[in-house]
Subunit: 178 residues, 5 copies
């Protein structure tokens, strides 16, 4: 709900005090699941939503358009972190394009010195649409939560260092040394 109604909510809050920290969410028309909505839904249940932080969201045509959009969410809109969500298709050329999109997101981070969490779900990660949908929902939400943690609760990440944490599927867990 967060994404579509974000304008109304913001105007209600602005009469009180405006949260100054902003988290960006950018997704695509190309993807076959509303990944941006899932990310926004997760952020909406994080502590301090619309109090200590608010969400800026945008939709672009395809995943190659994510990098510059994320950069502008940072530089123009003042976001402190961005969640960039997209779905590479199944053709070989899609893999190459995904690589180009990912390289752009990497460069945008370095040019802004700001984290942009890349959330890609590959269309061929499952042939079962139900499973695939759960991957979309789960990975989008978990990385939105990671973004929140990076800004507000870094100790959550430190505590899980080297634990084989995954998004979309089950955690791999740490290596069993026996």
């Amino acid at each position: 709900m967060a994404k579509k109604n974000s304008k109304k909510k913001k105007s209600k809050k602005s009469s009180k005090k405006e949260p100054t920290v902003r988290i960006g969410v950018v997704d695509t028309m190309f993807a076959r699941y509303d990944m941006g909505q899932a990310a926004c839904d997760e952020l909406a249940i994080c502590p301090g939503y619309n109090k200590t932080f608010k969400v800026h969201s945008q939709t672009v045509p395809g995943f190659k358009d994510l990098a510059v959009a994320a950069m502008n969410l940072i530089e123009r809109d003042g976001c402190s972190i961005v969640v960039a969500l997209g779905m590479p298709g199944t053709a070989p050329i899609d893999k190459q394009c995904a690589h180009e999109a990912a390289m752009g997101i990497m460069q945008a981070q370095l040019l802004t010195a700001t984290p942009i969490i890349e959330v890609f779900v590959h269309e061929d990660e499952s042939t079962d649409p139900k499973v695939l949908a759960s991957v979309f929902e789960n990975r989008s939400r978990k990385h939105a939560r990671n973004a929140y943690w990076m800004l507000f609760e870094p100790e959550q990440l430190r505590r899980r260092a080297g634990q084989g944490i995954r998004q979309g599927f089950d955690d791999a867990g740490p290596l069993q040394l026996k």
Copy 2:
């Protein structure tokens, strides 16, 4: 018609008031279809053509020349967005060159903090020249429309988030979760 006659139209308008927003279009001699013309034709039927925005177009030798040309359309000519159109050929080396061209377009976006919509039609997307031509025309036009939306009607994109929107072929649609 738009591209070839753009100069005449501009001089007519300049007696009234010059549109300040500019959309860039850059295409190649290498492509086997006049992609730039298709993009210009679409922009010519967008609301506000030559009133709220005008089109700057340029042709370069091949797709590796698109990135710096797009950058100059932005930095030198003041375009707020650019549509960059090219056709990778069928040989393996063409795929590698397409990758290099695409990486250049990605970097040009980040160095200018301005969207450049990459419109590539691969020569091997269809063996039927009629089908291929329709892909050229349709994808060039749809991405030109996307560029217009990004500048003037971003809600058109947001409304289609996660809907499996395609250019050139039919939309894939959102996942059916059954």
Copy 3:
């Protein structure tokens, strides 16, 4: 003739008026054909040679040295465009190196906001040395002409938009829609 004798010609002209526009040409010791000479020969028969423009040329060891040399021809020597010529060899590692060289040329363009036309002839484009030599000569000359057009006659490029123009081999021509 142009390349080797460029110094003498320049000194003769300098008593009259020095052309201010400069076109750079950079080639390699690694290539098995004097591509730089071919490019210089073509530029020498373009209108305004040594009157409205002059040529700066340089030779580097291999194609990975082209990018920074082209950058310096632009930034240090004031060239408005550069033709960068090289020959990738036949081994798999040569393909990867060609990719790295090409990425460097791409980045050099974006960091200088100046076109650098990459002219690569792959050693395996023909097994017949005569054919290969003609590809070297033809592609080097045609891209040198393209560089001239980009600076002085951009309408030559625009007129050929989408016409399947090639360098080295015959033009592919536009798609026949039947």
Copy 4:
């Protein structure tokens, strides 16, 4: 022990004199071994630990998040060198992602003019979890030591030039010319 307790130690020391040289350590939740801890343990036994230098550590979700984190350890936290540790998984897409992560780490070095030592252990380097764990521990420690050497004892590196030094497995040694 170093990593988890670094805060307490720092506060104890700060009453005396604060070391001004900082070494950064950044690792991931994704890896299946606590590589950051291994690196911190090695640094804790280097001469001058918490006297002439101290360690800043951070954990990020995955290896694509290492580059910008390392950049911020340098630019924001004043680290003179960073050890960036991650584990590429076994799927083909993991290899591509590892490449993107590595390219980001490379670029972060060049944008900060500061060394970032990339320590990647590929999950498929061994099928035996015990062997793999020893690779994680050994490579993380050896590269942490390299980072220390680069800052404080560069002659240790010079002395080993061309000696086929490895991290994680046994040294390859110099070529036997007979």
Copy 5:
């Protein structure tokens, strides 16, 4: 001899007049041949060694550390050109790492506008250790000489344009057009 004793030699000279041009040499512990020494030996027999130019050398852990080291030899130590020497190993992952290292060296050149000659000897260029050693020695020396030529005798390069010059193995020579 040059590399290991460079400090003593410099102190002797400094009582007379210090050469102001500096050539950087950076190599690795990973390589199985002392490539940096070979490069330094060649530079030591170039005209003007320690009179018109001197050599700065450094050793880093692996070839991915070459790029930022070369950048610092240029920016911090004032080198006008750098020879960067490394040995990619035989595993597939080594090829990818070599690509990343090479891309870094390319970018370092463009960010400093200064040539860095990449000298890579792939461990699998020969199965005969004697042949491989000669490739290491020959290529390292020839590229060190190229670096000298680029600074002091560019006409040596121009004279060899398009002559199929190689380093490590025999020259390929120019194409025989018959």
